[in-house]
């Protein structure tokens, strides 16, 4: 049958039907969520969509498709008429059928082979359980005496529903070409139009009509419709846009009799113009689904063209070339703007138009992220049913646009993350209630622009990830060493779930469920030039953040130079640039296990010479061996432009200034030494030729603004070629940190609080504060003498005094001082003698960190000497002094 119909009509039908299915899926979910309160509009939209699929399928003689959609329609009708609750069981049946319809559309010509018994059975059970027999098929003969009479098959329910709602039945005949295509409609458009004013109960291709009428010559197909509407015939004719003779009314009286509805007559009376009676339910606002935007009504309003993707890809590539061509043109002519009048205006114009063109063409490939997001309500719904959980999903920023290829590649990682959230993160309702959370878990999908990138955050309010458990697992799996683990922050630990080999199925539930194949998520995201991070608060929830570029085809890249060759490094891989002056080279670059390492802030970065990694002869000398001078000379001689040579000469003088590009590689960073840094350019990525792809260090090629073809570096490849061992470096980093800690501790122990004083102008002395009990200012007259011993009255007792010049070879206190000071040491632990040390001045009390050296002078209590405030200072132990003076007495 379908061979009678244009292939283009079929493909239109398939495309339109797919769109229908996509729009009503969220509607169905909305219906389930809000039950009978789902807006009438939502219900009608679903109904219309299924209906028009049914109509089209009947039209094009796809029997099974028609049959299934028809049965779905019956169920929907019961819901609409308030005879059936949209409970999960019903929705299961409808959604399963929806999937089956999709499968049929995917393979439309063999759609009759697609098994749908299971779905039909489900729908049948739904219908029967609610006491609505499905079996009730009625045949409606239009006008038995008329040769044009046709026999329509339909469900009794459908017919009853139409009749009780006061509708008129018509047998309408539409000719595919004359009535539909020639009027600029598609068959589905025609059906949609009919659906707007009534109800199409049955439709099929009317072979008999073709044979009987003259139109057989034109090969025009007739389509027979059984049409139910509240409109009177003359209005129905206008509404259907058909010639009057092709719309034949059916005898309603006979129909009612046949259906045993005569007694229900009052219900049939309403005025023909009146709209169908509104359903008993109050119409409430449609739940906040994105679906509203994609309503079929609107899609007809916007003028669109279907364009093949490869055509757009081709355009995209060409415009990329155009951009490069423009750059070359601008460069070539930049010196001539003065010579040629008007040139600069022309160039500016070309420049601007090209940029705009590029932007527009990029836009054609942009797709709203919603095309991926919209599948998740369904997934979540199915999963929450299966898992016995209550999960609500909220979608924000579905309109954010990304390159089509990225949108497509995002589907898997996002599905993965969402399934993980639903499966493992969100708790059972009881558990949630116990924790004081609402019983329904929330998953929020949020897409937004930030800094020229698109971020997608997937948050849940579930269990969160326990860093301790992740760490245990990671250590058990050998992903981190225990010693290293101590340095990790919780955030770093949680992000270990992305490490390859982290997760296995059985760990999943233990650690609250993130982790199955999260490394795959990361790999996929990085393949797209994006990054992924996770943030989690135990017990509160988890957020996975994907950062993605807007487009894959054009990427901003840093152009670097090594030995006169240039390479591009995608900016997304670059962390920062570091310039190391020759003077700093010795202090900032060192060797660990034979590898060069850059000390950058508190981190150690493995350092690679790009020239070495790429096996290009170096053009400047090795600071260790200084051997590569001949190489360097040779290449300098090679250089053509004098400016370059000059610059190189300067570098020769500067000896070894380094430009380091710090690259990101998963969780690690490393530095790459290059000779020159050029500009950041937007480059068009070209795939690698198979002759080169085994070099491993490149991810593609590109053509620069000056027309030169260059390679794009792949950080992973470079790191592996250079044999980078991040673990060694990390061990070393850890060891150093440990050392620093120890040193700091040691320093702290060596730091002394001292009291600085002098006895005369000659020497400086210091005593540890900890040994000093008291400092006193005294008047020389208050010193009492007994023989050559001196005392001072302290706390009512005579305190023996001692002078340093009597104990060691130092200068005495000058005569004639008006006041003196006493240092009274703490009593020793053994409770030995007490004494005060007479000094002339207290200079300072301070903390010093000094190494004491031996002193030359002789005497007791000498700890050593050191420089304090740039003066040689003798450190004394007052306790020993006191003890010594006691001995001496």
């Amino acid at each position: 049958m379908s061979s009678l119909v244009d292939e283009s009509i079929i493909s239109d039908f398939v495309a339109e039907s797919r769109e229908h299915l996509n729009t009503i899926e969220p509607d169905l979910l909305a219906m389930e969520q809000s039950g009978s309160k789902a807006g009438q509009e939502v219900l009608n939209r679903v109904f219309r969509a299924i209906h028009s699929i049914k109509g089209g399928a009947g039209f094009l003689a796809f029997e099974r498709l028609k049959h299934l959609s028809h049965t779905m329609e019956n169920v929907l009708m019961l819901i609409r008429d308030g005879k059936l609750e949209a409970d999960p069981g019903v929705m299961d049946a409808l959604l399963a059928s929806l999937d089956r319809l999709r499968a049929m559309l995917d393979d439309i010509h063999d759609s009759d082979q697609v098994p749908c018994e299971k779905e039909m059975e489900q729908l049948r059970v739904v219908l029967e359980e609610r006491g609505h027999a499905v079996g009730g098929k009625v045949s409606v003969q239009t006008r038995p005496e008329d040769p044009l009479s046709r026999c329509f098959d339909m469900d009794e329910e459908a017919l009853k529903s139409a009749v009780t709602r006061g509708m008129h039945l018509y047998h309408a005949t539409a000719y595919l070409h004359r009535d539909i295509k020639d009027k600029g409609m598609s068959p589905l458009g025609f059906l949609n139009n009919a659906m707007g004013v009534g109800n199409c109960l049955d439709a099929f291709i009317d072979i008999a009509a073709v044979a009987e009428l003259d139109h057989c010559l034109e090969q025009d197909l007739a389509v027979a419709l059984l049409f139910a509407t509240v409109l009177e015939r003359d209005l129905a004719v206008i509404a259907l846009k058909l010639p009057e003779e092709q719309v034949v009314p059916l005898d309603m009286g006979a129909m009612k009799e046949k259906l045993g509805l005569v007694k229900a007559a009052p219900a049939v009376v309403p005025a023909p113009e009146a709209p169908p009676p509104p359903p008993p339910q109050p119409v409430e606002e449609i739940p906040p689904q994105e679906s509203g935007k994609n309503a079929p009504k609107e899609s007809t309003g916007q003028e669109t063209l279907r364009v093949r993707v490869d055509l757009l890809t081709g355009l995209m590539n060409q415009v990329g070339e155009l951009v490069l061509g423009r750059n070359q043109l601008l460069r070539a002519l930049s010196g001539h703007t003065r010579d040629i009048p008007g040139l600069s205006a022309i160039l500016q114009n070309i420049n601007q138009v090209t940029s705009e063109l590029q932007e527009r063409i990029m836009q054609t490939r942009m797709q709203p992220i919603g095309t991926v997001f919209n599948r998740f309500p369904r997934i979540i719904r199915d999963m929450s049913r299966a898992l016995g959980k209550q999960i609500e999903i909220q979608i924000m920023g579905a309109g954010v646009e990304l390159d089509k290829s990225i949108v497509e590649l995002l589907t898997d990682p996002l599905t993965h993350i969402i399934r993980n959230s639903a499966d493992h993160a969100i708790e059972d309702p009881e558990e949630r209630l116990k924790k004081g959370k609402p019983p329904a878990g929330q998953i929020v999908l949020h897409a937004y622009h930030q800094g020229g990138q698109v971020n997608i955050a997937i948050s849940d309010d579930g269990r969160g990830i326990d860093p301790k458990r992740v760490l245990q697992k990671a250590i058990a799996k050998g992903l981190v060493t225990e010693s290293k683990a101590q340095d990790l922050t919780d955030r770093e630990i949680v992000n270990l779930i992305f490490a390859p080999g982290f997760s296995t199925a059985e760990t999943v539930s233990e650690i609250s469920g993130r982790g199955v194949g999260m490394d795959v998520v990361r790999t996929n995201t990085e393949k797209l030039g994006g990054r992924v991070e996770v943030e989690s608060e135990l017990g509160m929830g988890t957020t996975v953040l994907l950062r993605l570029p807007l487009t894959l085809a054009i990427i901003p890249s840093m152009i670097v130079g090594v030995s006169r060759q240039r390479f591009a490094i995608p900016q997304v891989n670059i962390v920062e640039f570091v310039w190391i002056r020759s003077a700093e080279v010795m202090t900032r670059i060192e060797r660990i296990h034979g590898a060069q390492v850059l000390r950058l802030r508190d981190k150690l970065l493995p350092l690679i010479r790009l020239a070495d990694a790429l096996d290009i002869p170096r053009t400047f000398e090795d600071p260790d061996t200084q051997e590569s001078r001949p190489d360097r000379r040779a290449s300098i001689a090679d250089r053509r432009s004098p400016t370059r040579e000059e610059r190189s000469e300067r570098r020769l003088d500067g000896r070894n200034d380094y430009s380091v590009v710090v690259l990101r590689l998963g969780p690690h960073q490393f530095g790459v030494i290059v000779d020159e840094l050029f500009d950041i350019e937007e480059i068009v990525v070209k795939p690698l030729s198979s002759f080169i792809s085994d070099c491993k260090c490149f991810s593609g090629a590109t053509i620069l603004g000056d027309g030169r073809a260059i390679m794009i570096l792949d950080p992973g490849g470079i790191a592996s070629l250079a044999n980078l061992h991040f673990s060694d470096i990390q061990e070393e980093e850890k060891r150093r940190k440990e050392m620093e800690r120890q040193e700091a501790a040691l320093r702290a122990s060596r730091t002394r609080s001292i009291i600085l004083f002098k006895v005369s102008e000659e020497e400086r002395f210091a005593v540890p504060q900890e040994h000093v009990k008291r400092l006193e200012r005294i008047h020389p007259g208050a010193i009492e003498r007994v023989g050559d011993r001196e005392y001072w009255k302290y706390l009512g007792e005579p305190l023996p005094l001692l002078r340093l010049d009597r104990l060691m070879e130092v200068s005495p206190i000058p005569q004639g001082r008006n006041e003196l000071y006493l240092i009274i040491p703490k009593a020793s632990a053994e409770g030995g003698a007490q004494a005060g040390i007479i000094i002339s001045d207290i200079l300072d009390a301070l903390d010093v960190d000094v190494d004491l050296r031996p002193v030359d002078i002789q005497g007791p209590g000498l700890l050593g000497s050191a420089m304090v405030h740039d003066r040689l200072t003798i450190f004394l132990d007052p306790l020993q002094l006191v003890a010594a003076s006691g001995d001496a007495s």
Binding site: E321, S689, S690, M711
Partner: protein, 143 residues
């Protein structure tokens, strides 16, 4: 069956390649070397916005690499069904297009013992002299 061959020289020998396989012939210009690539991959060029990989045919046939001269040419090959890569062959200089009988090709002389021997398909004693024919498939097959 007469076949048209594009002939070119490499180390003073004349080689031929079926003209059907040739997309175009261009003057050799700046070739961007590709580090760590196999020796006979000379590098990349930008051919009107397309990146073309250049194979040094001389090196492929076993001789050391040579400087590019004003005589050097690149033979851009047509893409094949199996590969979208565009490949160019770097040769010493390009010569005439000749028409010869492919059936008259004889196996390569046994005294040609250089390592490139395995890439030689045969020799045609043409009007302009001996033309060595290459097994292009083998040459392009990395192994």
């Amino acid at each position: 069956m007469m076949t048209q061959y594009a002939t070119f020289t490499l180390n003073d020998r004349i080689f031929g390649i079926e003209i059907q396989l040739v997309r175009e012939i261009i003057k050799a210009f700046e070739i961007t070397p590709v580090p760590r690539a196999t020796k006979h991959i000379r590098g990349l060029i930008n051919l009107r916005g397309q990146v073309v990989t250049i194979m040094d045919l001389g090196v492929r046939l076993g001789s050391p690499p040579k400087e590019i001269t004003s005589q050097s040419n690149i033979i851009i090959l047509k893409t094949t069904a199996t590969s979208n890569d565009i490949l160019g062959l770097l040769v010493d200089s390009i010569a005439d297009v000749v028409e010869e009988d492919a059936a008259s090709a004889e196996p390569p002389p046994a005294n040609v013992t250089d390592s490139g021997n395995r890439f030689l398909a045969g020799v045609i004693n043409g009007r302009t002299g001996l033309i060595v024919l290459l097994k292009l498939e083998d040459i392009l097959n990395e192994s």
